[in-house]
Symmetry: C3
Amino acid sequence: MKEFTSIRQLPDLQEALREARYVKEHPFADQELGRNRTALLVFFNNSLRTRLSTQKAAMNLGMNVMVLDVNQGAWKLETRRGVIMDSDKSEHLLEAIPVMGSYCDLIGVRSFAQFESREEDYGETVLRQFIEYSGRPVFSMESATRHPLQTLADILTIEEHKSSARPKVVMTWAPHPKALPQAVPNSFAEGALLAGYDLVIANPEGYDLDPEFTRGATVTHNQDEALEGADFVYAKNWSAYGGDNYGKVLNRDMGWTVTAEKMALTNNAFFMHCLPVRRNMIVSDDVIESPRSLVIPEAANRVVSAQTILKMMLRDL
Amino acid sequence: MKEFTSIRQLPDLQEALREARYVKEHPFADQELGRNRTALLVFFNNSLRTRLSTQKAAMNLGMNVMVLDVNQGAWKLETRRGVIMDSDKSEHLLEAIPVMGSYCDLIGVRSFAQFESREEDYGETVLRQFIEYSGRPVFSMESATRHPLQTLADILTIEEHKSSARPKVVMTWAPHPKALPQAVPNSFAEGALLAGYDLVIANPEGYDLDPEFTRGATVTHNQDEALEGADFVYAKNWSAYGGDNYGKVLNRDMGWTVTAEKMALTNNAFFMHCLPVRRNMIVSDDVIESPRSLVIPEAANRVVSAQTILKMMLRDL
Amino acid sequence: MKEFTSIRQLPDLQEALREARYVKEHPFADQELGRNRTALLVFFNNSLRTRLSTQKAAMNLGMNVMVLDVNQGAWKLETRRGVIMDSDKSEHLLEAIPVMGSYCDLIGVRSFAQFESREEDYGETVLRQFIEYSGRPVFSMESATRHPLQTLADILTIEEHKSSARPKVVMTWAPHPKALPQAVPNSFAEGALLAGYDLVIANPEGYDLDPEFTRGATVTHNQDEALEGADFVYAKNWSAYGGDNYGKVLNRDMGWTVTAEKMALTNNAFFMHCLPVRRNMIVSDDVIESPRSLVIPEAANRVVSAQTILKMMLRDL
């Protein structure tokens, strides 16, 4: 695999899940594969889970890891050609990216939506430039529109806990004080559909996601109806995608918080969230602390998903 | 060992010192013990010595190390249950800590006193939560009330230099421009007492430490008397502990600075300090640069103390 | 080698270049040399290339690496003796540096010119103190007056591309919005002269470098004349060195930008720059993107130069 920016790029999801289960059982079995190989992890945005789990995954594979925090204040890359670089941007990506590529074997990039322009965010400017100019296989550690390592961990977690071949999975919007990107819900939707789940997406009006990611899912504005019979509830906040409201917070309706009453509508569903989560905004204390909450094993599977992808990339170097 | 937050938790101090001497002579002898094991070092406060020496200790043992700087501005953890998380705290420790635990085998935590409330500081809120929720053995890299890796290095240094079975050790307060925690003096006092030294603590009135740590020592407000016949002088500033003065600087009396005149009162004592040290506030240039100054070998022993504890923890995994 | 702060300290440049070519072809051949050895990289200034390439070089040699960012705001070292340390400087270098030395086998230091005093910058206060007090071999990762790892990479790159025994190498000043140190041009000049190249240095009046570094080169204020027949064009901005103008920007004359018209004056020269580079200030887009631009292979050779020096230092431990 030469690029991993969407779960759709997996040659075969089921084969990847088999690989993931093997990796989980034998975390140190492939250290020869990573010997003398270096992963460079470039963070344009902060991270706890992604940083630690990807580092751990690379070390499990015997790789060296270098982490680069690109402080957006201190290290600004120019992206436009032809510009006279007399401002605060001291380096052009056309130099910075191939140089980074020359110091490693694989590059991971985290770069969130900026919410200045939907076209620029959904064009994945930063990520595309790493793919084009680094000369190395690139994997996303969350980009403007997707978070595929999270999605692979999510699918693996569902596979480990599902009791029917085609579980009903409800991804529901929930309130949050700040404007958040659509990367996680976009990515989860395409993953759940690829996995063949019965995916229902519940969100308030004005919060419909880009149909590019949700085609094949049932989209509804009625959360209670959606939750009926759900086997998995995947909660997440996102800001508006459509029209002139891109990146805006349209409401903070606490009626959408996932509470015990809401969970009572489901088929004794498991609760999932990618973390970090705002308690009693997204989900109530009792739900996230209940035995049906999968948030910790889901986060633990981030090491497994990262290691699976790194292993596939190493094999193809 | 499943937890190391106080030197009193050592199963046997003398056995730990024997282990420390072995580790110092054979730093790379136990690399199989740490193979494929990962230490996560979480810093809520800055560090030079602790960060480098603990990292070095873990690498000597063949471990992988991940360092996480928790910028208190950028990454605030909610600690209260039941609260609606709509403020600047984006994650609850009930999620963050078990997730960190799932990415490593051992966790080191540095978290200083906040000086907002003595009860909260001495309750060791942050450290206790890592112990309760991480699912991993936890070691302190300095907490609100103790700095046990420093203390073990201090005791080892004294053992390496003492010429009598029960040396007279004087821990003396000295002036400093800022309010400092009591962690190092608390911890040194309990260590020196555990080691069976003749411990005398000299500090100005108003600076008596919590008797929980100093019971068994002689506490005096007369520095000159204390220094008479001392074999080791351990200088340190701390802020007030008692009454309504908790965390306050009550005086900066330069008469307490450890000078050559003061050292002349001792039994040709060795000088010790945990560093960083304010020269000519805590200690004069000539004393810290004298052949009797142990500050550099004391700091070098930080690798040994960390490696000893990590080795004991690895053995019990 | 016990110290590497200038390319002149190489025992033999040609032998070092042979070693560099060997290292480049066999990057993982010397891992026994670095086993259980630790490099500490201390950054007083930010870095992309130096940080990643030196880390990679050390890992290629099987070393452990620890990186310490000395935030000049947060961690200030006192340097004067006899001072009462009651200000914001919490540690004296006389303690900090030997402690760092006690935690590693080799120390790399990056510390730029401060532009407060030419005497202090050219006295290399910080670097000299690491050499004097760390007790370890020290290598420069760019100091106030030199950048020898860059220079070794530059010379190696010229050797790989030259078509005559003694190429004409033109180092030309070019405009930049901010005041930059003289470290790179000083260092390149002494390297190019040591390598025996026909070195011509072109800069506007007022920008002559310290003759200590340039003795033996032709210095001219006419860029066009200098470029005639050049085999290599090495562009760089620097601030004024001489007189009362030390550290000042005297002009931003865009007539000095290296353009295709300028390159047409040369002997189909290769273009070099140490990066980061301001496009269309230092060099035009078409020149830096042309097939004669060596900026990326030059940066890639930073791993090779660092690994060569680290290998020589490890051999002499």
